[in-house]
């Protein structure tokens, strides 16, 4: 077990190096900075709305671009490595297959934590430079939840990478993440249908429970509108996010360990 975990750690380390040297990451960071500059320019012409625009664009970039980059990195470092057989030399070593999955997941997850932190720091810097009201309450809590969101997105991408070709893994992952962003709407729809349409209501509720409720991990609305963050929101979101990620990751490790051909 100890040597398997050591193997997972070594794979995570090299995956992190790969991610940090990958052009996808650099291009997305440059794009995020560009978006932030645009938001600053836009804010200068919207009196009274400056802070709101900068936070909105900064946090949306961190979540949206972050999710996209996490998926792309996992596809290139996991699904594509299986397809291109780069993974053969790793899997021929005394490392169990589940440790390979675990290593790939954590390598990309660590990279994503660095990326979203950089994006939040850039947003905070822009707010301070603009000298509006500074960083609002709950801003750093939003970074924490964004990190939890990245753990779910990375787990989704790792699951599909463990079972499908790079192209299909990419399509499925994007589909599930987009679906997860609308999961709360499905719950609302199910409640609205209520007793009138029992079957449809139950169906949408099941779909809601199956999908990751990613939208719930965003504090964008609360922060930009200066709303209070409900009690236990961070704790519940963290527990939900990590539990969902752990389930997907365990499932990915199981599937990859059982695969007949790699």
């Amino acid at each position: 077990m100890k040597s398997a975990l050591k193997g997972a750690f070594v794979i995570a380390q090299t995956t992190l190096i790969e991610a940090l040297r990958n052009k996808i990451l650099l291009v997305s960071l440059a794009f995020a900075v560009l978006l932030l500059l645009v938001s600053i320019a836009g804010a200068s012409s919207s009196v009274g709305e400056q802070e709101r625009i900068i936070i909105d664009i900064g946090l949306a970039s961190a979540s949206g671009l972050g999710s996209l980059v996490a998926i792309l990195l996992l596809i290139t470092s996991f699904a594509a490595e299986i397809k291109n057989r780069t993974a053969y030399t790793l899997l021929a070593r005394p490392v169990p297959r589940w440790a390979f999955v675990l290593g790939k997941y954590f390598g990309v997850y660590w990279a994503m934590l660095i990326v979203v932190t950089l994006m939040f720091v850039a947003t905070a810097t822009a707010l301070n430079l603009y000298d509006v009201k500074g960083v609002p309450d709950g801003f750093w809590a939003a970074l924490w939840l964004c990190g939890v969101e990245m753990s779910i997105v990375s787990a989704i991408a790792v699951l599909f990478s463990a079972m499908a070709s790079p192209v299909l893994a990419g399509i499925y992952s994007v589909g599930l993440v987009v679906g997860g962003n609308f999961a709360a709407d499905l719950l609302a729809l199910s409640q609205r249908l209520g007793e009138k349409e029992e079957f449809a209501s139950a169906f949408f509720k099941v779909v809601y429970w199956a999908l990751p409720d990613i939208e719930r991990l965003s504090l964008r609305t609360q922060i930009t509108n200066y709303l209070d963050i409900p009690n236990n929101y961070i704790e519940l979101g963290t527990t939900y996010g990590f539990a969902y990620s752990a389930f997907l990751l365990t499932f990915a490790m199981y599937i990859f360990s059982r695969r007949r051909a790699i």
Partner: protein
């Protein structure tokens, strides 16, 4: 103890969900003794790479038993004794050669310190000193092959499995790899490699196996492999013959080829050669040389493949 023992190995696959199952390995039996250099031969599509992938637990067999040093290769502890170079040297191109070797060393169970120290030695051993810090994306095909062998040697495995190690190497590179294999053998390690470059096999292998259509066609020590069919004929070089004599010889010899004033006549046996010599002397011609034609491994390989293809067609 056998380094590798394969008994009755079957593997099949489905290209698509709806397609018929295709048999790739059809009862492969193979035994490689410890300390040997073993050549695994076969035409394209014979199942060499599939066999190697099953050995490494990258594919799971339908049926059959595999042992590496007496243990199941699916066990993690068994794979501690293995080093592997894949057919095409695919490595993460964002790493440098040194980083790749350190990573592989750690995965083989070495500490970071041991891994770093061994990586320096292996880089030197495969002739890549000075290129250690270059990213793999900037390596040539030959350099990738060398670093691939270097990574297979990390952790000092007892068994080194090389899938087409000579491909992409120039003659000097091939010579270096041959010497490396000899040095591994001297250290008591077992080298199991697949290749298409048969002259290399003749130079370095103790034993060979010929795989065709998913089955082992022949297996054994190289000298046994070659000796039963050691000669394919005899070449007699003659001169001072008239054209009508040559026409006469063409009727009895396997082939007659004119080269300036000389003539190269090929016959099947020593008896035929003696008859030929008597006739040439009778015509006042001169016999310059007499040489048996040794069958190379390549000749045997071509014969076997041709025969197997003919059998499968009929």
């Amino acid at each position: 103890m056998s380094a590798i023992k394969i008994e009755n190995l079957y593997y099949s696959l489905k290209a698509h969900f709806w397609s018929k199952r295709l048999s790739i390995l059809k009862g492969v039996n193979l035994e490689v003794e410890e300390g040997q250099i073993f050549g695994f031969l076969g035409p394209n599509g014979a199942g060499k790479t599939t066999t190697i992938r099953v050995l490494l637990n990258l594919l799971r067999q339908d049926q059959g038993k595999i042992e590496i040093f007496g243990a199941d290769p699916r066990k993690i502890s068994t794979r501690k004794h293995l080093g592997f170079l894949p057919e095409h040297a695919y490595f993460p191109e964002y790493l440098s050669g040194y980083e790749l070797l350190v990573q592989q060393g750690q995965l083989a169970g070495l500490s970071l310190k041991e891994s770093k120290s061994q990586a320096h030695d292996k880089i030197e051993e495969v002739g890549l000193s000075g290129k250690a810090d270059v990213r793999l994306r900037n390596y040539s095909k030959g350099m990738l092959q060398r670093i691939g062998i270097g990574q297979a040697l990390m952790g000092d495995p007892r068994l080194i499995i090389l899938d087409e190690p000579m491909s992409g190497l120039d003659p000097l590179g091939r010579r270096d790899i041959r010497e490396l294999m000899f040095s591994l053998k001297k250290q008591g390690k077992t080298v199991f490699f697949s290749t298409h470059i048969l002259p290399d096999v003749e130079l370095i292998c103790d034993c060979v196996a010929l795989l065709m259509n998913g089955q082992i066609k022949q297996q054994g020590a190289l000298e046994n492999f070659l000796s039963p069919k050691a000669h394919s004929g005899i070449v007699v070089r003659v001169r001072n013959l008239q054209s009508e004599h040559l026409v006469d010889l063409e009727k009895s010899a396997s082939s007659v080829e004119r080269r300036g004033e000389e003539c190269v006549v090929k016959v099947k046996s020593m008896d035929e050669a003696n008859t030929l010599i008597d006739r040439v002397r009778g015509w006042n011609g001169q016999v310059i040389a007499l040489k048996p034609i040794d069958l190379s491994l390549e000749d045997i390989f071509v014969q076997e493949v041709t025969q197997a293809n003919a059998e499968s067609k009929s």
